[in-house]
Structure formats: structure tokens, C-alpha cells
Symmetry: C2
Subunit: 581 residues, 2 copies
């Protein structure tokens, strides 16, 4: 997309890109968006903290400094960062083997995970390593998200059923149904229905009541905070906490203090891989969200600047006792819909959440945990993306398989296992495609300068000349196949004296390919068959120029197949070869 020159003066990055040129006209949009987003993310942040196995206030702490840090360093005008479902789940599953959920040790590890991930992201940004995320293909990302979403749903079922944990065999619940807390389940299902109604029908109903389309959509998005308010009122009035409905319990008043506990080096080392994984996922997720939003506004995203922004956000989170943060899709969409023009909206949201923390935060102590679980369920079920699987499978079996295996890997092998499996499969699929190259014998379409496959079109060929178009880069995985195809063509055209290799679709040749071509050419020369090239691209020619193959074995290099055909077709060479006689 073209850059939006109003918003991104060349030369400025991060806050310099927007604050220096800030226009008063943008202010009302940024203020509204900040307010709307803060109201929306209060329940979300608490829910994702619960998902991560942390006290709910940690979610609110992770929604202060990170938003400000991102506003200073990030490159997206639209992205809203904070606790999200996938990083919450990753925090829980990556730390579970290292400490007991709920312990101080666990909280410290979560904070250090955010700090380490922040350092990694920031340093990767300084080193301009943003391109590394390109090695995650869409099927891997999509499969990972779907697998993680299923894990998240499973993790919330105990909260919904009011049991401490699911039995090893979940079907056993059908027998032991009496352990289910029916008050919790009933309460949860009512909230679930309310949220589902808000998501699917509410905005339509509001519109019918005379609200404008945009306002109706925005109001519907704020349903979770309304449900939270209603639920707390019912809980307090009905004394549900005393009747065995688990609630948040306590929530301290005030802002978090700056956090610093010198970590144990051994712990730090075992956090390295989890931090790298969470950084990778945060980065890929945030950049895809930022890019898709930027595209609509014709803005541009700088991947390395995003690394800096996310790194700063995670450092900010860790330093104020928060956990890993990342750009969130729904909160960013709401941010844009509410009119955000610049990251000032994020700063506004942070200030509002800060105000809530120093004033009314303790009232959330009355919130039943099942409400947070239901908010998570409603947020993540749309992430289970069967349509992508169907689409990938239809376009390319290998990609469908990669997507499915990544999701299954996340469920069965865990998050690291799933991602590694997915990356390996997508690389294998790519090699596999390249290992089965298409090699066509071509001839000239009569009266033109075009050359087409002799098997697909009626074309003319030149006597004793075999013109082969190799439709793939030549590299170790396909040298044997290409050699085989050329040999087969030579058997099909036994009176060949000139072999013309058309390299229009060959962008590079590796050493293994060069060795094959050289041995092939040597063998042909022994039989007095010459090899010529046509349509060699500039960068490839630069590389081949210094090789013995080109200098000593290849007879001629033609700029076009047309010229090669005319020249070779008019060659007069002695009769058939001895062994063909």
C-alpha cells in the first residue's frame, strides 16, 4: 500500500511519526477510542490474566505502561496492545512445568517471561530481524491459532462447570454429573447467552431503536462490561459467593509499583525458549493485525519498528508486574471503529484504566470467575477456523495437511511441538513442490515468436534441435529429476544434435545443480551433442559467468529462444551419431 503521508512523515518513526504532526481534528477520535477500548478491555484483561493462571489485577497492570510504551515505539496507528488469549494460554502452559499456579514463584516467572520476551523483541528490532517471522507460513499460523483456541476452550470448562479440574477422561462427567456446580453452570450459561446475543443480534436491535449503525456496533461491543456489572450486582444481592460460587475474591486498590526481583540464573535460562516462542507468536500476531488494519487506511507497517514497539510494551508490562502482552484483534478493531487516529488513543485508555485502579477496582472482587470464563469462551471460539482449513485443503493438499497437523500438534504435543511440527511441514512441502519440476519440450507457435509445450500445442520444431524449458530453480532436491527429464527427452528425440536449455523460469542454480548440468553436458559432448542456453536472467548469469560449465562446456548463450531457434535450426552439421546409425 502507499504510505499515508499525513500520518507518517518520512524520517520519523514511533512517536516522532505522529506526535510532531498531531492535528487537533484527530483528538476527539482518539479520546473516544481510548474510552471505549478501556471499558472493553477491563473484563478482557482480567479474563486473560485468569487464563494465564494469574491474579486478575495482573491483567489490569499489563494494560497500563505497555499501551504507553507501544505508543512511543510502535509503528501502527491502529493496534491496541495488552493481554490477549493466546499469550495468556502460552504463559500458563509454558510455566506450568516450572512452578505451581498461584504461587509467588509462578507470578515472578510470568513477569520475567514478559521482561525476557520484551528484551528479545527489542533487540531483534534493533538488529532488524523482523524478516525472520516470514518463515512462518499462513497455514502454520492459522493451525496454531485454532489449536490454541481449542486448548483455551478446554481450559475454561472447569470454571464453567464449577469443578476444580476436568477428570482425566472428560466423558466420566456424564456419570459423575453430581460434582458439577449447577448454580455456577446456570449462571455461566445465562451470561453466555447474553454475550452471544450481544455479539450476533444486539447491534441490529439497537439500530431498529434508532441508533446509528456505527454507534450500535460499538455499543454491542461493550456488552461484556454490562454483563460484568449485572453479574456482580446479582452476586452481591444474591450472596452467591457465600453459596459456593467462586469469585475474584480480592483486588488491591492502587497502581502497581515498579517491579524488580533479581531472578535466579537457572530459571532465567529455562525461560529462554518459552520467551522466544511467546515473542515469535506475539510478533507474528501483532504484525498481521497491524498490517490488515493499515491496509484499509492505506498506511504502512514497519516490521522492525513493530518489534521495538512490542518489545517496549512487554518491558513496560514486566517492569510494572504485568505479564506478556501482544496486539489483540478485537480490541484493535474496536479501537479503529471508535475513531482512533493515532496511538494517543492507547495512552488515553491506559490513563482511564489507571484511574479505575486507584478508585473503583476493588468492586471487581465480587465478580464470579465463571463470568470471566464465559467472556474467554465467546472471544476465542471464533478463532477455531475450520473455513481456513477447508480453503487450504482445496487449494493445496500439502497446505491443508500442514494446517491440520499444526493444530493437532498444538493439542497433542503442546505449543512448542505444534509450532515446530508446522514449520517443518511447511518447509518440507515447499521442498517437495520444488523437487518435482516441470520440464517441457517446446516448439514455436507458427508465425509467432512464442514457444509452447509440444504436448499441449501444435508447434514447429527445428531439425536436430531439442528445446527444453525447465520450470523450476535447479537445486539439490530436483537435480536428479531434471536430469531424468532431460535424458527422457533425449531418448524421445534420438537424432538430437543441439540441446537448448531455456532458463526463463530458473532464478538460481545451486552447486548440486551445477554439478549435474556439468556432468550432463560432458556426457553429451562425448557424443558430439552441444548444449546451449537461452533466456538466462541477469542475476543467474552473473553467477554462472565464472563457472567452468559456462566457460568451457556450454556452446552458446542466446538472449531469446526465438534467436536460438533460428540460429540452431539453420546449423549444418554432419549426419547422425554413430550409435544412432
Amino acid at each position: 500500500m502507499l504510505e499515508n503521508r499525513r500520518l507518517q512523515p518520512p524520517g520519523g518513526t514511533g512517536i516522532l511519526a505522529w506526535a510532531r504532526h498531531y492535528r487537533r481534528a484527530w483528538l476527539s477520535g482518539d479520546l473516544t477510542a481510548g474510552l471505549v477500548v478501556s471499558v472493553m478491555i477491563i473484563p478482557q484483561s482480567m479474563a486473560y490474566a485468569m487464563l494465564a493462571g494469574l491474579p486478575v489485577q495482573i491483567g489490569l497492570y499489563a494494560s497500563l505502561l505497555p499501551l504507553i510504551a507501544y505508543a512511543i515505539f510502535g509503528s501502527s496507528m491502529n493496534l491496541s496492545v495488552g493481554p490477549v488469549a493466546v499469550t495468556g494460554l502460552m504463559t500458563a502452559t509454558l510455566l506450568a512445568p516450572m512452578a505451581t499456579i498461584g504461587s509467588d514463584q509462578y507470578l515472578q516467572l510470568a513477569i520475567w517471561l514478559a521482561l525476557l520476551s520484551g528484551v528479545m523483541l527489542f533487540v531483534f528490532g534493533l538488529l532488524r530481524l523482523g524478516f525472520l517471522a516470514n518463515f512462518l507460513s499462513h497455514p502454520v499460523i492459522s493451525g496454531f491459532i485454532s489449536g490454541a483456541a481449542i486448548l483455551i476452550v478446554l481450559s475454561q470448562l472447569p470454571h464453567l462447570l464449577g469443578v476444580p479440574r476436568l477428570p482425566a477422561n472428560p466423558l466420566q462427567l456424564l456419570n459423575d454429573w453430581q460434582i458439577i456446580n449447577s448454580v455456577v453452570l446456570g449462571f455461566g450459561l445465562i451470561c453466555l447467552l447474553l454475550l452471544l446475543y450481544a455479539r450476533s443480534l444486539l447491534s441490529g436491535h439497537l439500530k431498529k431503536l434508532g441508533f446509528k449503525q456505527e454507534l450500535a456496533t460499538l455499543l454491542a461491543r461493550l456488552a461484556p462490561i454490562v454483563v460484568v456489572g449485572l453479574a456482580m450486582t446479582v452476586t452481591v444481592l444474591g450472596q452467591l459467593a457465600e453459596r459456593g460460587v467462586p469469585v475474584v475474591g480480592s483486588l488491591p486498590l492502587g497502581l502497581p509499583s515498579l517491579y524488580w526481583v533479581t531472578p535466579d540464573l537457572g530459571n532465567l535460562r529455562s525461560l529462554l525458549l518459552p520467551a522466544a516462542l511467546i515473542s515469535l507468536v506475539s510478533f507474528v500476531e501483532s504484525v498481521s493485525i497491524a498490517q490488515s488494519l493499515a491496509r484499509h487506511k492505506r498506511q504502512s507497517i514497519d516490521a522492525n519498528q513493530e518489534l521495538l514497539g512490542l518489545g517496549a510494551a512487554n518491558l513496560g508490562s514486566g517492569l510494572t508486574g504485568g505479564f506478556a502482552v501482544c496486539g489483540g484483534f478485537s480490541r484493535s478493531v474496536v479501537n479503529v471503529e471508535a475513531g482512533a487516529n493515532t496511538p494517543l488513543a492507547g495512552i488515553v485508555a491506559a490513563v482511564i484504566i489507571g484511574l479505575i485502579l486507584v478508585t473503583i477496582a476493588p468492586i471487581f472482587a465480587h465478580l464470579p470467575l465463571v463470568v470471566l470464563a464465559v467472556i474467554i469462551l465467546v472471544a476465542v471460539t471464533p478463532l477455531i477456523d475450520v473455513a481456513s482449513l477447508r480453503r487450504a485443503w482445496r487449494y493445496d493438499r500439502a497446505e491443508g495437511l500442514t494446517l491440520f497437523s499444526t493444530a493437532a500438534g498444538v493439542l497433542l504435543l503442546g505449543i512448542e511441538g505444534g509450532i515446530v511440527l508446522g514449520i517443518c511441514l511447511s518447509i518440507a512441502a515447499q521442498l517437495w513442490r520444488g523437487s518435482r519440476p516441470h520440464v517441457a519440450v517446446v516448439g514455436r507457435v507458427p508465425g509467432t515468436q512464442y514457444f509452447r509445450n509440444t504436448k499441449r500445442h501444435l508447434v514447429e520444431t527445428a531439425p536436430h534441435t531439442l528445446a527444453l524449458r525447465i520450470d523450476e530453480n535447479i537445486f539439490f532436491a530436483n537435480t536428479k529429476a531434471i536430469e531424468f527429464s532431460i535424458q527422457k527427452a533425449l531418448r524421445d528425440y534420438p537424432d538430437t544434435r543441439e540441446v537448448l536449455l531455456i532458463l526463463s523460469a530458473v532464478n538460481h542454480i545451486d552447486g548440486t545443480g551445477l554439478d549435474m548440468l556439468s556432468e550432463l553436458t560432458e556426457g553429451l559432448l562425448e557424443r558430439d551433442v552441444h548444449v546451449h542456453l537461452a533466456e538466462v536472467k541477469g542475476p543467474l548469469m552473473d553467477r554462472l559467468d565464472s563457472t567452468d560449465w559456462l566457460k568451457q562446456q556450454v556452446r552458446e548463450v542466446f538472449p531469446s529462444t526465438h534467436i536460438a531457434f533460428n540460429t540452431l535450426g539453420s546449423l549444418k552439421r554432419p549426419g547422425a551419431l554413430p550409435e544412432q546409425a
Copy 2:
């Protein structure tokens, strides 16, 4: 290469390919080659058995049935199989953690390693999985061989110095030089000089004495057996064994009996990975040797038939108490030079070795081990291939690095580590190349139908038309880079109304690439810029045909850039876009 029809009637494979059509004229060559090869490989087989940590007769046992089995199942007319240095080293290093060298347990593991590897190779042949070896690139193979050769040289130094093993820090030998056995070292150095003389100068001297070139070369190749004979004579006459020179010691008379010990299942499982590695290396080595020899004779090699041949050879070795075998380069070259026409030469060699085992084998008991060590040293030092490293580095830094890292990996991380590192690096290099695609803005060379890079040539462009040639398959690792290049071109040509993507060099587009193209096209459509395609290849078009991108977003698909240029250039469309105004 064309098949040699004399030797390979279509429809026949393995022994059927040559025995049914055997000609009397081939017999003398096969008999001579069998004799020469057997004399040459007797010392070699014993030496490589020593290298593998096994009694020397195991080397001879591995030179009987394998040669006959390969003659029945293999596809090469020239390959000579048997114990080779690299598989000897692999046997020793892979089994060292599992049993003590010299123990019965160790011998049984070595035999089972051969059997397992034989089963794997044979089954892979039946499943026609020969193509899998294509994923080993030349730099990886070359680096592996060089690294293994260095390991072999190091492993033989104790034998040469007459010490039980090298000190942890080999430099310590300079201080503790008195532990070196000077008789052994002196004896070894004399043999070394004799062998080096035989390799470099002897054939020239023989030629001057009136021998024909070919005979002189062959006689020089037999130098090891002469050195062995001389060394044994000196040892017996000088009573060197009594004076502390380690000798072979004992060698049983007679053929090996059929071997079968039911293995421990746990052991068998831990042999799986070693067997897979040794199978991979044997197969790749044997096929490269067989192919390079076949090329000169214009014969062909069937990789899957080779798997069967090597599998049968290893099964034959294991069943007669031998260890892993593979095609050997020097022995195969001697085989061809001595006139071998068919695998009958191998059968002849096996018969001669069998005769030696039942008659004079015990005399080898007097052979000093240092002579075997020296034979190994002379055989493997040429495998340390610095020229390949230099050549790879000059052609492509990434390939040079892969080769070097594989060799260093074999030395520092062990054989498995080195091979895995090499495979990962060669795949990474391939992805890296593909991730930096060349995208060119092209224009028409005046008066022709050719299109060239506007930056390299003086070409004409059509108004409001941006013609881009994408010089790479579009896949996850390069979608961002390609999108970036297209965006940059759009900024450079701000009055673009028609974007023409020329896909002559794009052989496939993966799902990630398709998503990018679709989002890009959508963004351009919002600005009333149309996307067109030209020169889409048949297989790619088949795949794109069913996508929404092609059906709904792409405006037109042109058969050639020339036609596209003429059509788009003559389009009349309203003026510039609002934001360009």
C-alpha cells in the same frame, strides 16, 4: 545418458539384466577384474574391519556373500561393494557408546547393524523411496566425507605411533614422546613411503620399464598386497611380534558359518537410528559412484534397484557374520580399469577370497596392525577435499559455509550431528535464496516483442501501466518481500492504473502467497487500480483457476506480455486518482 541397450534389455533388472544376455566376449574381462579386485581388497577389507573395531577376518567375511548378492540385485555393471572406510568409521563411532570394542557384544551389534541396514535398504527399495536421497545436497555429502576422513586419520594415529590411544591433548605427545613405539612408527613410515611411491610414481616407472599404460596403472594399484607380503616377511624373519610390534595375531581358517543370534529388542531399537544413518550414507555414496562410472560407459543406474542391491549385500554380510558394506570408489575404479563388463567380476572376486579363506588366510596373523593403519591413511587422505570447499565457496558463500559446517559438525558434534546440521543448513540456504526474490519493472525493447528490466535496458513503457516480472516462486518466505517490491514500484510510478504481473518465472504460488496477492489486489481495487496477469504457466493456471483471487479480483489474464502491453497501453481510463491529484 542413454541406456546401453546391449547391457540392459528393457524389462530385466538385476541379474536378469545381464546374465540372460551374457556374451562370451565379456568373460575374460570379468575374470581379470575379479582377480585384480580380490587381490586389491584383501588388505583393504582387513584394514576397514580394524577401523570398525572388529577382528580382521570380519572384513574378509564381508567380502563374500555381499558381492554375490549385489550381483543378483544391483543395477550397476561396475560397482564393487564391500567394507569401505566411511561405513567402517560409522560402525565404530555409532556402536562405541553401546558396547566395548573387542567384546562379543560389540561384534554382535556390528552384525545386527548390517542386518538392520540391509532390511531398511531393501524395504526402501521395494517402496521405491530412492528419491529421498536427493535431499542430501553435494556440499553436505562432500563436507560429511571430508569430516569423516579426518576422523579416520585421527583414529589411526595410535596404531601408527604404537600407543594404546592418543592423550586427551595430542600436543602432550611432544612431551611424552618416549611412550611412542619407535619400531612401530619406523616400520609404519617405511610402509607409508612405499605406498605413497606406489600411488604417485610407480606406474610411470613401470611404463618406462616397458609396461603398457593400463597394465602399469593396474600393477601400481596392487601395491598394498605387495607391501603386506613384504611386511609379513620382515615381521616373521625379524621376530617383530616378539619385540612388541602389535600384529593381527590369529585368523581362523575356513569360511564363515551362517550367523543368527536372536537380538535383544532393546538393543535392536537403539540400533534403528544408527542403521538408518549408515543406510543413508551407503546409499548416497554407492549411487554417486555407480552413476559417475555409468555415465562414462553410457549406462544408466536405477536408484531403487540400487537400494535392493545394497540391501541384499548388507543382509548377505550380516548373515555370514560380516559388517556393513557399501560401494567403494577405488575398488570400483580398479574393477572398471581391469576390464569388468558385468557384476560377474564381483562373483569371481568373492570366489577367490573364499578360496583364500579356506587355504592361506592364517598367514595374515603375522601382519602388523600398523601396516593396516597405513593402508587406511593412504586410502582416506585424498577424501579430505579442500578443493570442493574452495569451489563451493567461490560459487556461493552459503554452500561453502554448508560444506564447512557439515565437516566441522562431523568432527565436533559427531556423525549424526554433522549430517543433521548439514541438511538443515542446505535447506535454510535454499529458503534464504527463495526469500530474496528479484522483482523487475520491465518495458518493451523498441521494435521487438521482448521485455527487459527498465533499470538495465533502454525500453519503452505504456502509460499508466506498470509491468512487473516476479523472478521467483511466491511462497511464505518471500511474500512480504514481493509485496514490498510491488509497493515500492507503485510509489515509483504513482500514476499507475494497470498493474501487470508477469509470471513467466513463477512455477507455484502457495497459500500464503495467494493471500498476499489477494489482499494486495483488494487494496488496489479500492483505489481503482486493476491487476492483470501475463504468461501464467499451465500447471499454475490449473491451480489458480478455482481461486476467488483469479475469478473475482484479477481483471484479465494475457497469454503474453506483448499482447498485454498492447491491450493495456491502448486503454482509455479516467484521469488520476483523487489522492494522486
